[in-house]
Symmetry: C2
């Protein structure tokens, strides 16, 4: 995966993903709100970059994926734009708004239980049985390059904003695809930049994997407890993990109530609706501000797909 | 006011106002979310464009303005950036979040009653007594040119999105400054475009003024009833009205519950927190979709400053 691959992805997704703005937020902080993308998360970048590279023969056979929700929506949208048949395997506890998004774009949904392995196994079965192309949400070089386009934009937009110092970039980490792509792009363009992952303490599998320097799984009974449904991955995926070992400067942890507080701050101070996973990096930025290196800080806000009732409960502090 | 003036304003505000994205939203619709600006509304464009043109002598004497809230915040921010003393006259029923925004940027606040004339009179008194420069929120060519920069961006961004057809642009109308600037820019660049104002039925003074072809006031007891606190102006200001007569293709009206519905849709489908005034154009777009001319439609979402508790009440449908 080279910087040239990520630049090529950036050209490929033009007109499908938008160039989200870099929003000034408090002194020296910036927000990159991927919640504003079509389908409501960064995932459209990677999904479209992957599907646009399929051969016509591969397109004819269709695609299948497994996802907690945002990648599913992105695959459904990209497949519709490219007129490809899509099947997505989702957990039966996915937010309604994510399920509706997939349906609206005409993809077929297969529901399984909440465990990551169930989704992966079922998607592989379908791929093999029906001869479809499996496009995983993180363990795929094309997908990672697509997510990396965020890093290109961050570096460009800091220059446009007159910021000359190397940035400190915070990225939420589920299976690691977003963080690997962003780190590769940001450090490819600015080797003096720093990139940190952010994980909920309840799903700190990547934090532990990096500490031990080997992929370490957490039980899904544990990770399912975080409200950040996009970050419940039980272990980093192998392809992004190889990049994270080399590129990531650390993983900071956040608590559930800090994620909810960041959702409130985003609504009030930045006028953004964020899902819990989307607010995690802002929570990390606020919590760890004194421990992070000096320099302009950027939080990648990964998405904004949250059920309206659930959102209001969380903002009011009445959530179960 | 020429297109060259608006282009000059666009250069002047670079690095202070952001280039908000043009968000694809449903088929053939686009949103221009000015709620993402620093200070949470489009007003920073006009305020900074005006203050940046003051002479050093004028800067030394300070500025005073009157505003329902968003222009106040923008003047406070622009004055802080340019190191100018600022006094703002605000109604005592302004949302808390707007008052806090003004305070945070260090401007002095003078509270008066809810009527527009009270604010105007008090600001003029202060300007005269203290020798300060009055920078009104709409009745000022420099301010209108600043707001017009939104129109330049819309035309540019539609081209970037591959949209060749002339757009139909919907803009909320309070005193008319935003609508006049956007209409001048959009039609200056694309004479075949159409620009419509949007007003709450409870504050349809500009609609009536255009129908009668003369400035017509509505009683503030009437206009204060709309939840769209930014659109409670009792009559169009003379400078923008002269442009609106020439440039506006009509004013569409929206009801209170339609504004609230649009706030909900913006949160769920576009992941944007909008204040009632900011959602009015989206409400107009949805309500009048069959009556508007064919073509790509753009709703200018003017701002997102709404008290958190009030916001949750409105979204839950429990507001008084």
């Amino acid at each position: 995966m080279t910087l040239a691959d990520i630049h090529a992805a950036h050209q490929r997704i033009r007109g499908v993903a938008i160039r989200t703005p870099l929003l000034p937020f408090r002194d020296g902080l910036f927000l990159k709100p991927e919640s504003l993308q079509p389908t409501g998360s960064f995932k459209i970048r990677g999904a479209y970059n992957a599907l646009a590279q399929l051969t016509s023969d591969e397109r004819a056979r269709g695609v299948v994926t497994h996802s907690s929700g945002n990648h599913a929506q992105a695959i459904a949208r990209a497949a519709r734009l490219l007129r490809i048949r899509a099947v997505v395997v989702m957990p039966d506890n996915a937010p309604r708004v994510k399920v509706d998004g997939v349906s609206a774009d005409g993809a077929e949904i297969v529901f399984v239980g909440p465990h990551n392995e169930e989704r992966v196994a079922r998607a592989h079965e379908i791929a093999e049985h029906d001869g479809m192309n499996l496009v995983p949400s993180a363990n795929d070089r094309r997908v990672i390059c697509g997510q990396g386009t965020i890093g290109i934009e961050i570096v460009e937009q800091l220059v446009e904003a007159g910021v000359a110092t190397a940035p400190i970039v915070l990225v939420p980490v589920g299976l690691g695809g977003l963080a690997a792509g962003v780190a590769a792009a940001v450090k490819g363009l600015r080797p003096d930049a720093r990139v940190y992952g952010v994980e909920p303490s309840l799903a700190a599998d990547v934090h532990e994997s990096l500490e031990r320097d080997e992929i370490t799984s957490w039980p899904s009974e544990q990770t399912v407890r975080t409200i950040a449904d996009g970050l419940r991955g039980e272990a980093p995926a192998p392809v992004p993990f190889a990049h994270l070992r080399r590129l990531l400067d650390g993983v900071v942890l956040v608590e559930e109530e800090e994620i909810v507080a960041a959702m409130r701050i985003a609504a009030r101070e930045a006028r953004l609706v964020l899902e819990p996973s989307g607010a995690a990096s802002l929570a990390g930025l606020i919590k760890h501000t004194n421990e992070l290196p000096d320099g302009p800080r950027v939080a990648v806000l990964s998405g904004g797909n949250v059920d309206p009732d659930r959102y209001l409960e969380l903002l009011r502090g009445t959530a179960a």
